[in-house]
Each structure stands twice: as structure tokens, then as C-alpha cells.
Amino acid sequence: MSKDYTTLWKEIGLNLGKHDGLLSVLSDAYKNIYLSQKNRPEGMKYFDFVISEVHGLRIEELYEAKKEKRKVIGTFCVYVPEELVLAVDGVFVGLCAGAEVGFEEAEKYVPRNTCALIKAFMGFKLSGLCPYVELTDLIVGETTCDGKKKAYEIFDEITRKMYVMEIPNMKNDSDRKLWLEEVRKFKDKIEEISGKEITLSLLKKSTEIVNQKRLALQRLNKLRAYDPSPISGLDALLVNQIAFYDDPVRFTMKVNELCDELEERVRKGNGIAPKGTPRILISGSPFAIPNWKLHAIVENSGAVVVGEESCVGSRNFRELTEENFNSLEEGLEKIAMRYMGIDCACFTPNKERIDNVKSLFKELKADGVIHCALQFCTPYMMEAFKIEKKIDFPYMRIETDYSMEDFGQLKTRVEAFIETLR
């Protein structure tokens, strides 16, 4: 980190001793997993910097933003409309949920067989290790899965900052109406908390900002379709993870700069691994930062990850919000429509997800799919079986969490799967 943030962390209320421990583990892991990669694009330097400052400079920026009366809105899910938060000049951040931190604390409130993502966000908060959650003015939850729904009730008692949006479980007309109403209510809530009114022109501007970010991520994703892939799956995953933290305008610019470089690499045939290296599409539950486990295993086993059919991945950027609206109400409808396009496994039926897996497989010229569900994430675990029956390409289903307990078995299974693709 570029400077000492201890005073800031203390003021925010972090557990300083434990926090130092966390940062040192994170920095070691980053060195081993990321900085040891060869032939990385120059453009990754910015993202290396962001990750090194994930609890430093970015936190200071948030702290400064709050001084200017901007509101910090924390989320855990791609269903929360970022357009509305940016329309009141709010800061939109994903909260810490990707490491095995504070699980003993979390297990005082939730059962042991709760998915790692839920236990992690509870654990991060309860052990005073997530500066983002401490800086939020509002934490927006959503009724995607049962685990999260019930955990948010408990999280509200702990933080007193929860606001939950109801995500329907189907996509019928009545569900779409309900969701539009939820989007309207969220707009009111954001206006109330920020003391600012969302006007048509503000909403148009914020929609454009978010769309530009999605377009940049789409561009990055498309570049991974080339063989050899110009960027490692690990690096692309990192960019997708940072999409939830960074300032959106700056982030978009940096992703586009990276893509310029990658296009140059493609022209020269310069790849992260030799042409013909087995190409894996990963599909399933989200990979919250710093969950790099599966990507690291795959890429250390002689394959390259070319895409993530995941919330931290294509589900976050595939659809754009239509910008051609002429009234605020119409804008809200477009936003509601855009978010209903997301194919989360919490919906039933969810046929579009299978179609999306198939088309991503084709577009990215993958050789095989590894479906990865977080353990106890029932919706994705169930869909993993469903997908298996509907596809005709190499496919392997795994269930795992953030621990290293199953590393040996996982490595053997992944390596054996890659052997069958050669």
C-alpha cells in the first residue's frame, strides 16, 4: 500500500490487529496467484494497483465522498439497479464476501451448512474486517435465495442499514409488475437517503455511465474468444471482480485501455498460453473477491479460463439498459426490464440460462465447461444437473467453498477433466 491508513481504519472502526493479518494473507495470496503469472498485459498494472489499495486508497476515496455528502450504497447482488444510485451521485460498492473470514463469528448467527458467501459477509462484518460495510449508508439486499433472505434479517439487526428489494421467482407479467414497483420504491428510497431528486437527465446520464462499463466488460469478454487468449482467466476474473468496487468512469477507461492492448496482442498472435491450450468456460455461482481458487487450479493445470457464466462475469454485463427513454417513468421501466433479463438460478423455470451457457460455449470457443456451485447454494447445485442433461459438450460439475480442504481432490478432478480435452 502506498501509505499508512491506520488512522482511517481506526476511525472507521476496523479490528486493526486482525485486519493487518488479513491484508498480509491477501497480499501473499496475490503474489503467489497473480504476480507469478507470466506474460501478463501491461494494462493489468492498474488492476494490481487497485487490489493493493482495495482497503486503502479506495476506502479513502469513499471516506472523502462521504464528506461531500455523497452516499455509499453497499450491495451483494447484480440485481440492485446501479443506475439509480449513480443518478444521485452515490457510490455503489459490492461488499466483502469472498474469503473464509470470521466464520466462527458468523456461525453464531447462521447454521454451519450455509453457503460460504453468506457466512463470509456476516463474518467480515462481525469481525470488523470490511471497511466498505462500515462506510455504507445503506446496504441493499435482495430476495434471491433463501439463505440470503434470512441472513439479511439477521444482518439488519447487526448493522441497522438493510434495505431489501423483492426479486420475484418467476418472469410472468405479474412478476414484472412487482419488480417494476420494487424499482420505483428503490428510487424513492435512494432519493430519500440522499436528499436528491432523480431527474430524467440525471437518470439518462447515470444509465449511460453504467452501460459504458458493461460495454467495456463485454469488449474484454469478446477478446477472450481468440486462440491464443490474450489474457488469463485469473486476470479477467480480477477485472470482473473490481467492476463492483471501482469508480465506474475510471474503471471503464482502464478496461478499455486494457482492451486496446489486448487487441494489439491478438493482432500479433501473442497469447497468455500457447495456441491450442484447452479452453474452459466456468459457469455457476458468483466468485466474490478474493475467491480465485478454481481459476487458479484450472490455469495451473494447463488450461486457460476463457469465460465466466456467473454474476461476477457475464451475468453482470450481458444486458444493457435501453437508453432511449423520454420520461423518468419510462426510464424506470427500461431499468426494470433490463434487470429482469438476468438469468439467476433463483428463477423458475430458467431455460434462458441453459441457452446462455450453450451460446457462451460457442462464442468463446471453449473446449469444456466446469460448472462450479458454492456448496449449499441449492439453486445453482440443482441447475448443474439440469444443464448436464441438455448439453453435448464436455462438462464437469463441482461443488466447493472457500476452504483449501478439498484442494487435492479438486486438483485431481480438474486435471483429469483437462486431460480428457486434449
Partner: protein
């Protein structure tokens, strides 16, 4: 021109040396707490032209000896076919993993299933249960008794199953009956994995636990098909790695392919 396959398992290290398509030596030793040293000694002893490592500890040799590796799954696929050329399905119950491998007519891997984390229902589980009932591991697989007994061990977790066994002992149930129930529990787990693939014959039981006749019998009864066991079942992985070593050197242009008569 000899080739070595070395299978570093969680309980035993197995090595097979081949030359011109014939096995020169089979070697097996406990993995112990220093698998790297033991593996390096084996390499030194045989000093082959090329070695390939497989098994749980394969990366020890790739990091420390620059030895190429293949997974146990691939090694068993090659090795089991060499031992029994008609093989289409492999059941491998090792020290800490259970694997089912389905092969096509030419011996390529079609699909595989493997346990995803703990040692539940594996060789280590059998060892612990045998010792809880004061059997040697050899005696354990040869127990004879009422196979159809309704007694169930419901837990597959080694820790919980052991306490279940202890409570059955304290109820006065005979150790033979408990032992059979333990075997039935493991067989059930293997059978559920077998159901996830299309079960083609011949079915070959390889790996350490293939020495357990009772387990074989219980699986056969359920699936209604015959299971074959080769006397060198322990060495399927090491043999597969040795054959792979020879084949890969040939592909690199190092040597002409021999007529293969492995066993």
C-alpha cells in the same frame, strides 16, 4: 531403455518398471511421512530413461524432480486396460479417494466420478473400521456371514461411523454383522457413483481396496454384473504411468514402439 511409473498414493507408493513392453519389476512401499524421499530413492534405484508420476503426491515429484505427471484417472485408464484389455469400467477405491472411470471401446476416458472432499467410504475408512473391530485389513475383506442382514451403518463420515460402530458393539451385535454392514455402506456409495455413468462391461476393480473380496461380492450382487480383479490390481496406476512414459517418449521420437505384452 526402461520406463518407470510411480503412483504416490496417500497410503502406499507403487512403482512399476517396464522395458520393451514387459514388466521388469513391481514395487510397493508405505508412503509414510516422507513420500518425497521414498519416491526419490525409488527413482535412484531404477534410474529409468523416463519416469511419470501419478497419484495424490504426483506434484511432489514434478516440483522436486521435474518428473511429468498424469492424474490417477488417466493412469488407471491406461493401466487397467493393459492388465485387462476388455475393461470398459474401472472402480478404484484408494486410500482417500473413490473413483469410477468409464472408457470407450478404444480405452479413452468417457466420463469419471470422484468423491469431492473427505475420506468417507474409502480405503482409509475401511482401515479405521477394521481396527475398531480388531480385524486385520486382510481378514476384514474375507469375512463370511449373512450378507442380507438388515443392519445399516448410516453415516459415511469416518468419525461418525466409528462411533456408530461402537454403539452397535455395545448393543451386543456380532462383529461379523457390523463388519458386513460397514462393507455394505461403502458398496452403496460406489453403486451410487456407478449409476451416474453408463455401466459397460467388463468392469474392473482396481486400486488398494480391490483386494477386498466382500466388497466385490456386495457390489456384484447389487449391479447384477460380474466384476474382474487382476492380481496386480494395486499397480494399475503405476503401470499406466509407466506405459504413458514409454508412449510419450516414442511420440517425442525417442524410440520405436514395441509389441506390448505387459502381464
Amino acid at each position: 531403455m526402461s520406463f518407470l511409473g510411480i503412483d504416490i498414493g496417500s497410503r502406499y507408493i507403487k512403482a512399476v518398471l517396464i522395458e520393451k513392453g514387459t514388466v521388469i519389476d513391481w514395487f510397493k512401499i508405505e508412503t509414510s511421512y516422507e513420500p518425497l524421499n521414498r519416491s526419490l530413492e525409488i527413482l535412484k534405484k531404477y534410474s529409468p530413461i523416463k519416469a511419470v508420476a501419478t497419484g495424490y503426491g504426483r506434484h511432489l515429484l514434478s516440483f522436486n524432480g521435474n518428473i511429468p505427471t498424469i492424474t490417477e484417472i488417466k493412469a488407471f485408464a491406461i493401466g487397467a486396460r493393459a492388465l485387462m484389455p476388455s475393461c470398459r469400467t474401472i472402480i478404484d477405491i484408494g486410500g482417500q479417494d473413490t473413483k469410477i472411470i468409464s472408457l470407450d471401446e478404444r480405452g479413452n476416458i468417457k466420463k469419471f466420478e470422484m468423491n469431492d472432499r473427505c475420506a468417507a467410504g474409502t480405503g482409509r475408512f475401511l482401515e479405521i473400521m477394521a481396527s475398531a473391530l480388531a480385524y486385520s485389513i486382510d481378514e476384514f475383506g474375507k469375512i463370511e456371514g449373512e450378507i442380507e442382514s438388515p443392519l445399516q451403518i448410516s453415516s459415511m463420515c469416518t468419525v461418525f461411523a466409528e462411533s456408530e460402530v461402537i454403539s452397535l458393539i455395545s448393543k451386543g451385535i456380532s462383529r461379523e454383522e457390523i463388519a458386513i454392514a460397514i462393507h455394505r455402506a461403502i458398496a452403496k456409495r460406489v453403486i451410487s457413483m456407478l449409476k451416474k455413468i453408463s455401466l459397460e462391461e467388463d468392469i474392473v476393480f482396481a486400486g488398494g481396496c480391490a483386494g477386498n473380496i466382500l466388497l466385490k461380492k456386495l457390489i456384484e450382487i447389487d449391479i447384477g454384473k460380474r466384476i474382474l480383479i487382476h492380481e496386480k490390481h494395486h499397480f494399475a496406476g503405476a503401470l499406466g504411468a509407466a506405459i504413458y512414459a514409454e508412449k510419450s517418449l516414442i511420440e517425442e521420437g525417442g524410440e520405436k514402439e514395441n509389441e506390448k505384452v505387459y502381464c
